[in-house]
């Protein structure tokens, strides 16, 4: 068996529908008590309802009106009894309605949090591969659809099954021959269900895929609206959306056409039974073999049977939604994080910051190595500068050191321990990253700075902001550190965001500091100010700094020049300049670029 994704424990074909169903049932265990009461009230509701046709038919017509039996002439009493049972039935109905509403919200809540928690557990790689739209659909819609399974599916299924059995028993007891007559169309119904439903199932899955693709385009375009506007590509985006929308609409139509045909036919077939009863029952009444009240009772029960039978028809549709949704949710829960912590992982309460990279080879995809045989050494307290062209693998290297990904070959050691053996918690608490793509969460500026360490004091936040050169612009804002940023909040500029993320790392106070183009989006003057502050902070810390701007690395103890995934040169600034190799070239080009800039300004 070839697994579609490496590390995915369950292959889709081995995931049989009934296996999913059993697994879903195990989730329902938590709601046993409420489900029990819901089913109980539902049964009481239908039991009280079941009495009514008997009173409306046999008792009213054959006893009260015909003047025979226990209820002879007591029409008022019969009506009162009917009203009483109706009221009881209604009360039980309201009761289970309320309980279901509560259960539904709880189930959706639990499922959503379990999917979200399962997602947070997964490695960065998972999020890089999937589209945001797909993931958002999973958390929201799939959980919502599964809610149907627990709430409508489970309880109504039990009650309707009981109803069918109960009513069928009453019918058989009243007249078994008439009952058999109304079952004549049944084989046809079963045949149709077996033929049509697998197809419906497929169509529903297709519809889901299309709606996910549609959501992806919407989220893409909204988040990338700056790019879309800048290139004037609105029409193209409209076209792209139209195609996806068209595809979705087609899938939706196919599904609806199919279900729109199948269900009325099924209804018609089941109702044929009722017509047959009227025909045979009427004939029997005329022959004097059966009373009119008995036929009326019989037909009323027959009609009560339609609801549950139709439900059984529809449940197949629900079933297909739910199973598809459950499959997707379980897939996330079962996904094995690529980067997993060993059970016997070492905790490092104190890290010295001795980093050793030995012959590391790595690729995001197999057989496509981004890093080839990379080695470097950073002694505690040293500052290592990594330079090289774009795409040389600099950011990949630091991703490996902080173990966002695992190396394919070779090893990375921190304080002599392989990073794969160090617990995630100690790794993350001792390594701080300021990367080129900064993210600001919704919340206040103070909360954003304190992200890594929410228990810090107010003074720490202000000090960190001051070091990152963010204090002055924050104080200038009317809401100061209370300013809301992130989606819907105050719009920070690129440089301001960068400074917030530096403040975040400063407050995190790690032993190993990774600066991945940390000051790239700042002007030279601000960069200089932050550099000064950082210089006082990097003392006693191991720092790995990646920079395009070579001036950023003027304080580095040691420089590593990378090109196409390999370390081509290593040494101090002076050594490398003497060697007149790749670094010398880079510095020369850098200086030329600076001169050109000066020329432009002059």
């Amino acid at each position: 068996m070839i697994y579609p994704e490496e590390g995915r424990q369950v292959c889709p074909r081995c995931m049989k529908k009934h296996a999913i169903f059993i697994r879903l049932l195990s989730l329902a265990g938590k709601y046993k008590l409420s489900l029990f009461f819901i089913v109980l009230f539902m049964l009481l509701n239908s039991a009280t309802g079941l009495v009514i046709p008997y009173f409306q038919g046999t008792v009213l017509f054959d006893q009260a009106l015909a003047g025979t039996g226990t209820f002879a002439g007591k029409i008022g009493l019969v009506i009162l009894v009917i009203i009483a049972f109706r009221t009881l039935s209604l009360l039980f109905g309201v009761m289970f309605g309320i309980m279901i509403a509560k259960l539904a919200a709880n189930v959706a809540f639990d499922l959503k949090s379990s999917v979200f928690t399962a997602m947070q557990r997964l490695s960065l790689d998972f999020f890089m591969r999937k589209q945001t739209g797909h993931l958002m659909t999973r958390v929201n819609n799939d959980a919502h659809e599964l809610q149907y399974f627990f709430v409508d599916g489970m309880s109504y299924f039990i009650v309707n099954a009981m109803n069918i059995i109960g009513i069928a028993a009453v019918l058989l007891w009243m007249d078994w021959r008439l009952t058999l007559i109304c079952l004549i169309p049944m084989p046809l119904v079963f045949w149709l269900v077996r033929k049509a439903f697998p197809k419906l199932w497929r169509l529903s899955w297709r519809r889901h895929r299309r709606v996910s693709a549609l959501n992806s385009i919407i989220s893409d375009t909204i988040r990338g609206s700056r790019v879309v506007k800048a290139f004037g590509k609105e029409q193209m985006e409209i076209g792209r959306f139209q195609r996806a929308n068209d595809a979705f609409s087609g899938a939706e139509q196919n599904f609806n056409k199919m279900s729109g045909t199948v269900f009325p036919v099924l209804n018609l077939l089941t109702q044929t039974g009722g017509i047959l009863i009227w025909a045979f029952g009427g004939w029997k009444v005329m022959q004097g073999q059966m009373s009119f009240g008995a036929v009326l009772t019989f037909v009323n029960y027959m009609y009560m049977l339609y609801g549950p039978i139709q439900f059984m028809n529809n449940i197949v549709g629900w079933w297909s939604y739910c199973m598809a949704a459950a499959q997707r949710i379980f897939e996330i829960q079962d996904a094995v994080p690529d980067v997993a912590e060993r059970p016997d992982a070492v905790r490092l309460p104190d890290m010295k910051g001795d980093i050793e990279v030995n012959n590391v080879t790595f690729g995001y995809e197999p057989n496509k190595a981004i890093l080839k045989n990379v080695s470097l050494r950073a002694k505690p307290g040293q500052m290592i500068g990594v330079v090289g062209h774009s795409g040389a693998g600099k950011s990949t290297l630091v991703n490996l050191i902080s173990r966002l990904y695992d190396v394919t070959e070779g090893e990375i050691r921190i304080d002599g321990v392989n990073v794969k053996d160090i617990s995630m918690a100690s790794l993350r608490s001792h390594i701080g990253i300021v990367s080129q793509d900064v993210y600001v969460f919704s919340g206040t500026i103070a909360e954003n700075i304190a992200y890594a360490n929410p228990d810090c004091t107010t003074e720490d936040i202000i000090h960190a902001a001051k070091i990152a050169n963010a204090h002055d612009f924050i104080e200038k804002l009317p809401d100061g550190y209370d300013t809301l940023v992130g989606s819907g909040g105050y719009n920070l500029s690129g440089g301001e965001k960068q400074r917030l993320s530096i403040a975040r790392a400063v407050l995190h106070n790690p032993k190993v500091l990774i600066l991945d183009e940390a000051t790239a989006s700042l002007d030279t003057e601000t960069e200089l100010q932050i550099q000064e502050a950082l210089d006082s902070l990097v003392k006693g810390r191991t720092t790995i700094a990646i920079a395009h701007r070579l001036s950023t690395l003027r304080n580095a103890d040691y420089l590593v020049v990378m090109d196409r995934g390999k370390v081509v040169e290593a040494g101090t600034h002076d050594e490398l300049m003497e060697r007149k190799g790749a670094y010398h070239d880079l510095v020369r080009k850098h200086d030329e670029a600076l001169k050109m800039k000066e020329g432009v300004i002059a």
Binding site: D460, A464, H471, E475, K476, P478, G480
Partner: protein, 176 residues
């Protein structure tokens, strides 16, 4: 407050190099034009402005004293560390800089064509103002504290949203 001997924190404070103003090293005075002046390290700065670091959550701590061109003279850890008259002077300055009437009673909120028209009793008397819908003009500045910015940029605040009557809350809720 945080100088508890923790090495990391001391490092942070040293690297930050923030100058804290205390009652010993700084002398505040009111200028004839009712602005603020401060004398510290033998140097006089006039006028200076009081910036709150946390105008919504705590106004009395971490005040930044700045010149007109946003240069920080120093910070005050807590207003309570200063003699009452100095604290009162600084508070007066803050009240001017952060002038925000507090809404005590919402009388009416009407909505039409994307704008809502508010009528409210505030600490600055009865106010009528217009707020543009959307764009974060009505937002939470802190938990339970609602900040309303009208079309002219005037700010109003409902200090405790849960203190509103049910009728008032109904009117405000639709504007959130």
């Amino acid at each position: 407050m945080t100088q508890d001997g923790n090495v990391g924190k001391t490092e942070l404070a040293d690297a930050a190099r923030i100058r804290y103003l205390t009652k010993e090293n700084a002398e505040f005075a009111e200028t004839p034009g009712h602005l603020l002046a401060v004398k510290t390290d033998g140097e006089e700065h006039s006028p200076v402005y009081v910036h709150c670091s946390f105008p919504h959550t705590n106004r009395r701590v971490y005040l930044s004293i700045r010149t007109a061109d946003n240069k920080e003279i120093g910070m005050i850890r807590n207003l309570d560390d200063f003699p009452p008259e100095t604290a009162a002077l600084l508070e007066r300055q803050m009240a001017i800089r952060y002038f925000t009437p507090e809404i005590t009673k919402v009388v009416a909120v009407k909505e039409e064509f994307g704008y809502s028209y508010w009528e409210a009793e505030t600490t600055a008397g009865l106010c009528r103002f217009t707020v543009r819908n959307g764009g974060g003009n009505v937002k939470f500045a802190a938990e339970n504290r609602l900040l309303i910015t009208d079309v002219d940029g005037n700010r109003f605040v409902i200090p405790r949203l849960d203190q509103l009557s049910e009728k008032e809350y109904r009117m405000v809720e639709m504007r959130l």
